[in-house]
Amino acid sequence: MIQTLYIEKAIFDHPRSVAIRQRFPQASVVTCERYGEVFNPKAQNFRLQKQQPSLILAEKYNKFVLEAPLSYNIGGQDNYYFSHMLNCIYDCRYCFLQGMYRSANYVLFINYEDFDDAIEQTIKESTQPAYFFSGYDCDSLALEPVTGFIKHTLPLFQKYDNAYIELRTKSTQIRSLLEIEAMHNCIVAFSLSPDSLAEALEHKAPTLAKRLDALDKLQQAGWPIGLRFDPIIYCDNYQQVYSDFFEQVFSRINLNQLHSASLGTFRLPQGFYRNIVKLYPEEKLFAGPLAESQPMVSYEAELEQQMLAFCRDKLLQLMPEEKLFICHDDI
């Protein structure tokens, strides 16, 4: 799977680096001073690299926990995110990571304990329940068998009733969760799209059916579930497509286990959008009815409102309003 493993010299002998090297014995191991030497150079093509990404092991020095964008909100007032990884093993055509980073390589920050300290500090300083989002710059679970990050971090949240963590994922790598007792303050949030859209746009990701199966297993084990319908994608028959899709999803949902659902239409910062279009000019998603107004590219305002209103109405026929959150354009 991983052919080239880049490792910062300072952490070459860190136990997690050693374990990951052992996991990929055939990989070429390349040392560097700082991961940015490999990850940041301008002369890189994200699309070509995505065919066979490498793994970069690095140490993070600061900014472990950041305030989340305003619309990253599932009911709390104090919202934060952290990124133990940059980039994702899936290849979703609407994802902002393609436009934000020059490299498709995965970066894993292996100093998990420093993340723990920063999270704990933030919880202690928070006057109200703090929500932490872990799947902002990566999929929270997709590389869990390699990273073990979630297995490491969840015990921290078991100590705090007033802190919540959201694991956002399209993955079926749920074994580490099923091995432990469900936590009321860990929301496993699945990003879901209708089958036809998932097949066309969410390359390398598990099918909708597989994601729903994983969700069902977690739900039965008592884990709070999140549903993330973001981004909603326009197609001529979107009303039929999304009606059928919501029915399909909620036929598998136990509303008592549902923590929250969120809804947002396709949107990207203009700079990221332009980078992505240069990489994938033939992509149908970018040939749709988009308004390229500053600073975000999104569907034309009237259409966007129609789509949101339609999906919201449909969802409210299937779930309670207080659990539904609308995401706006502040990535």
């Binding site: 052919q3 080239t4 880049y6 070429s28 390349v30 040392t31 560097c32 030497e37 490999v38 150079p41 002369a43 890189q44 093509n45 699309r47 070509l48 690299q49 995505k50 065919q51 066979q52 990404p53 490498s54 490299s103 498709a104 390589n105 036809s196 859209l197 097949e199 066309a200 746009l201 994608i233 326009y234 197609c235 001529d236 028959n237 497509v241 279009v277 240069k278 990489l279 000019p281 033939e282 992509e283 149908k284 970018f286 040939a287 749709g288 009815p289």
Partner: protein, 269 residues
């Protein structure tokens, strides 16, 4: 198109023979050996010569984006004479600057760290290969294309037991000839990646430019509209579809209108 830079004639000859490259008439600077897919220059020894060869090749077609390969011999402490290796890290010994060629494909041969030095190396550090060109090549070629399309392949010519003084032109040709299968696998991969990159352009734009005059800004808009058309329609579009458009602005408006009217579905494949 792939551009290959070698230092010595004996490094180039096996490639010229295998790919049947023809030498252009003598030109100022360098002689280019080529066929319809490959252009090769014998640059001479050293980083400056390699950099100059890259600039010369790119200067011949400044608008184009090609794949690049530095092919030559190198010394190594541990590896056997004749082994083929690709560079996963290229370091300039003088400046300590490093480059990391991205290799998003199955490596046709093992990969090593390569250090470019000014004088032939007689003392080899373990696990490091030494050459005299790669850093000059990489620094320059990576200005012209992204790092996936700029690669370095070296054949081990000397090691502790076989010092550099014993390397001859005949030996160099022999070891390159013996590894042509590995070199060809890399060349084919680079040509494939270069093809994928060039397919991102829209092919019909020139036909439209023959019928209307487009400003630079309109050319960008036309290119994007043609890409959008291709994304949403299985049919091709050509200037005859806009026979009534009196000028470029009207043509672009008409094309945009046609695109908006196309179906937008994701379940039609």
């Amino acid at each position: 198109m792939l551009h290959i830079v070698t230092a010595l004639p004996c490094e180039a000859k096996p490639i010229i023979r295998h790919y049947r490259l023809n030498g252009r008439q003598a030109e100022n600077g360098f002689r280019i050996y080529e066929n319809d897919q490959i252009g090769l220059i014998i640059a001479g020894i050293g980083k400056c010569a390699a950099a100059a060869a890259c600039a010369y090749l790119q200067g011949a077609e400044p608008q184009s984006k090609h794949a690049w390969l530095n092919l030559g011999i190198a010394g190594h402490g541990d590896l056997n004479v004749g082994d083929a290796v690709m560079a996963h890290k290229v370091t300039d010994a003088n400046t300590a600057t490093s480059w990391y060629p991205a290799m998003p494909f199955k490596h046709p041969c093992p990969t090593v760290e390569l250090v470019s030095v000014d004088q032939p190396q007689t003392d080899y550090d373990a696990n490091i290969a030494y050459d005299m060109e790669a850093s000059g090549f990489y620094d320059t070629a990576s200005r012209f294309n992204s790092s996936e399309l700029v690669q370095v392949v070296k054949l081990i010519s000397d090691n502790h037991a076989n010092p550099a003084e014993q390397v001859s032109a005949e030996l160099t040709e022999q070891i390159i000839d013996a590894k042509l299968d590995k070199i060809d696998a890399l060349i084919q991969k680079l040509l494939e990646l270069e093809q994928q990159q060039s397919q991102q352009m829209s092919p019909e734009i020139k036909q439209f430019q023959q019928h209307w005059h487009f400003t630079v800004s309109q050319q960008h808009k036309l290119q994007r509209l043609l890409q959008r058309w291709q994304a949403r329609s299985e049919t091709t579009i050509n200037p005859a579809d806009f026979i009534d458009a009196k000028n470029s602005k009207a043509m672009l408006q008409a094309l945009e209108k046609k695109i908006i009217a196309l179906p937008m579905r994701f379940d039609d494949k």
